[in-house]
């Protein structure tokens, strides 16, 4: 009897210990791997980070899967892009999670696009214009200057959620800031050769990167966002590219590359496939990803 109650108390105290351990770190649910990677830079061991998507998934079209609901249920902080990028799945995850702390307006709800200047904000809203976003182009993570702005805001949020370790986040943010600025100078220098280069893009995915590196976008494969190009549209593109050529076609890792390959062969322009985000699940960092982007962009202009 005594040993049974002792083992029961042992079990209960184990549970408590487990609960205590669970409280020791913040559970972070990142909608995209770039925010998971940024959280890792800013929080280090204080955060338990889960990325809902991989770099090879299209974040517009994710299923509100049971596994994601379970992860959202446990999260202390949800970091997403916002700007309606996750409109097809995030609202459902939040509602089903039964987690009060991550609802919109709560400290545990962080949308990166709230803290940067948006490009391509539409003047007119019409579904004929494709998968347009009321708030503008949501792919803000492709400009490292945005990453820096978001890092500052995210640090404040981490401090608000975990005030006992505010100094830890402050220190890590300071380190990240100087390292990131050094890295940006390096990327800028290395990318000199590609600045002003004329490029064709597949989707409006890289608009912020184009803005950062002063690339010159001469054409887009998708006639309107989210709609695959028709053969007629491709033929028109081919013709216009004969009049004013481009040095490369920039494609995104997760997209259907068949029309891109066709245009590349027809117009004789090389394809550069850029990974859409950090390969967080395999330990890649934000630095490594931008390094890779710059390397890949430099290839056709070497």
């Amino acid at each position: 009897m005594l040993s049974r109650s002792a083992s029961f108390f042992g079990f209960v105290s184990l549970l408590w210990a487990y609960a205590g351990m669970a409280q020791a770190t913040l559970d972070v649910f990142a909608c995209e791997p770039e925010w998971a990677a940024l959280a890792k830079e800013l929080g280090g061991d204080r955060l338990e980070i889960y990325s809902a998507t991989t770099a090879s998934q299209d974040p517009h079209h994710i299923q509100a899967r049971p596994s994601l609901i379970a992860k959202a249920r446990k999260a202390d902080l949800v970091i997403c892009t916002g700007a309606e990028l996750e409109v097809g799945w995030l609202p459902l995850l939040l509602r089903r999670s039964g987690n009060a702390g991550i609802q919109p307006g709560q400290p545990g709800h962080f949308l990166a696009a709230d803290y940067v200047d948006m490009l391509e904000v539409p003047d007119k809203l019409d579904r004929r214009l494709g998968d347009i976003h009321v708030s503008g182009n949501p792919h803000v993570h492709t400009d490292p200057r945005n990453i820096l702005r978001i890092a500052g805001q995210l640090t404040k949020r981490l401090q608000a959620l975990d005030p006992d370790h505010a100094d830890h986040y402050q220190q890590r943010h300071r380190d990240f800031e100087s390292a990131w600025q050094r890295a940006m100078r390096n990327w800028n220098e290395r990318a000199t050769g590609v600045k002003g280069a004329r490029i064709v893009v597949h989707h409006h995915f890289w608009s912020y990167l184009i803005d950062w590196l002063d690339l010159s976008k001469v054409a887009t494969l998708e006639p309107v966002p989210g709609v695959s190009p028709s053969s007629r549209h491709l033929a028109q593109l081919k013709q216009s590219l004969q009049q004013q050529s481009a040095v490369m076609i920039v494609d995104t890792g997760y997209m259907n590359d068949r029309p891109v390959r066709w245009l590349s062969e027809q117009a004789g322009i090389p394809i550069v496939t850029l990974p859409a985000s950090v390969d967080f699940q395999n330990g890649e960092s934000l630095y490594q990803w931008f390094d890779k982007l710059v390397d890949l962009l430099l290839e056709p202009v070497k």
Binding site: A70, G88, W89, G98, P107, R127, G152
Partner: protein, 444 residues
């Protein structure tokens, strides 16, 4: 202004440093210092950028645009229509062993309006979410508007708990919670048609909890008024109730699954089946007694690398088993009114697979099967009500193909080889479903 004065200070500081460091003539060190100051300026500049006020931000943590239409609810309108062709007369449709009720009848032959809907939804405040669904359908040239959903749901209970109240679709089955426009086939599985009159909703309350585990584990309980088919009648308190559990997860990035079970019970109900005319007056079977239903379901989805939009396979299986015990009366029969005891066991299942093989093309197959064992004191009464199967087990095989040019439009062609009753039927549907307005999120 601040930045410029800082730059001046920097120039001053650098020249001072030069004065001091000149003796050492360490140019590298000077460059390093210069770089360090530049960094500090850049960081100050970016800090300034961060601190920019956003006029439209209402609180520290709220986002710039919180809703689809600012403060209007998100509205989506579903336009649905069908062209139906049958070999048999759709008016003759029956399921031997199952008396039909609810919305169990077939779509009329030729062109008809399908199941068009208007869905309003939004967060009510920081504590509640609300949804309101009106369905429009035409029966015998009369437009019928039905309030299918009008519920609130809590957002801030925490601990994984959610309460939903109002009118809503029960969680007793996987397909039961999915709006008709999001079904993979034009018509409901036979088991839903036979047991729930297509879909089961009622007015009530649901409490559900998601467990804090990596594996998705959900438990829930629902209490309903019990006035809607397949329950029915007046109840002082809770007329019908449901308990359910769901479990699910991922296998790698490409596979995901969910399985669920449920139990539905309703005591002292008055279930009125759809009447059938018998030379003038309609004899309507009425079941009075206790009813319970067990449900099982399993769903598996595969999408290469988790890119569901490009290609995917979905497998779906559901099983229901119902037991009824009480009395059966044929209203408007006699006099005297024909009546019998009823001890009934009805079950059925369906299995389906859909395959999205290109971005805008999808195809699918489905197989349905029902079985029943109904007994009573007067088999003649059961027979009148359609509850005698005469050894026939209703079954149906379906195949469909659809063109999905965007998330908002779909055109579907479906063929059923229908053996619901003894005379086989060939059924062909050409269906269009369009959604305009806000982009609703769809459940798994």
């Amino acid at each position: 202004m601040y930045i410029t004065s800082l730059k001046a200070a920097l120039a001053c500081a650098v020249s001072m440093n030069v004065a001091i460091a000149y003796g050492a003539t360490d140019i590298d060190e000077l460059n390093n210092k210069l770089e360090e100051y530049e960094q500090r300026i850049e960081s100050l500049e970016s800090k300034q950028a961060e601190d920019r006020p956003y006029g439209s931000r209402t609180s520290e943590y709220s986002s710039r645009k919180t809703t689809n239409n600012l403060f209007n609810p998100a509205i989506s309108v579903i336009i649905d229509g069908v062209y139906a062709s049958y070999k048999n007369n759709p008016e003759d449709y029956q399921l031997p062993g199952f008396a039909l009720g609810g919305e169990a009848e077939l779509s009329p032959e030729g062109f008809s309006l399908g199941h068009s809907e208007i869905i309003f939804s939004n967060n009510i405040d920081d504590k509640f979410y609300g949804q309101f669904t009106l369905a429009f359908a035409e029966h015998d040239n009369e437009l019928e508007v039905e309030l299918e959903e009008a519920f609130f749901e809590t957002l801030s209970l925490g601990g994984g708990f959610t309460i939903r109240g109002g009118r809503f679709y029960s969680a007793l089955g996987y397909l039961n919670q999915i709006h008709e426009h999001a079904w993979d086939f034009k018509d409901s599985p036979l088991v839903y048609r036979a047991l729930f009159g297509n879909q089961y909703f009622d007015d009530g309350l649901r409490l559900s909890v998601i467990m804090p585990t990596d594996l998705f584990l959900e438990f829930g309980a629902e209490a309903f008024s019990g006035s809607k088919y397949p329950a029915g009648g007046e109840h002082d308190g809770v007329g019908s109730w449901v308990v359910y559990a769901n479990i699910g997860g991922d296998i790698g990035v490409s596979h995901s699954w969910q399985a669920g079970m449920s139990y539905w019970a309703a005591d002292k109900i008055e279930r009125e089946y759809g009447g059938h005319s018998h030379g003038g007056t309609a004899e309507t079977p009425l079941f009075e007694g206790d009813s319970k239903t067990i449900g099982l379901n399993a769903i598996y989805k595969w999408a290469p690398a988790g890119n569901y939009r490009e290609r995917n396979v979905k497998l779906q299986f559901e099983y229901f088993d119902r037991e009824d015990e009480g009395n059966l009366t044929l209203l408007n029969s006699g006099p005297p009114e024909e009546t019998s005891t009823l001890d009934s066991r009805q079950d059925g299942w369906y299995a389906q697979a859909t395959w999205k093989f290109a971005r805008s093309w999808r195809t699918g197959i489905r197989y349905d099967r029902l079985d029943s064992d109904n007994n009573g004191s007067d088999i003649g009464v059961l027979d009148e009500a359609g509850l005698v199967s005469n050894g026939h087990t209703p079954k149906r095989a379906s195949v469909m193909a659809e063109w999905v040019p965007s998330e908002y439009s779909r055109i579907r062609l479906q063929y059923n080889r229908d053996d619901s009753y003894q005379v086989s039927d060939d059924q062909v549907y050409l269906q269009y479903t369009f959604s305009i307005g806000s982009h609703g999120a769809h459940a798994f």
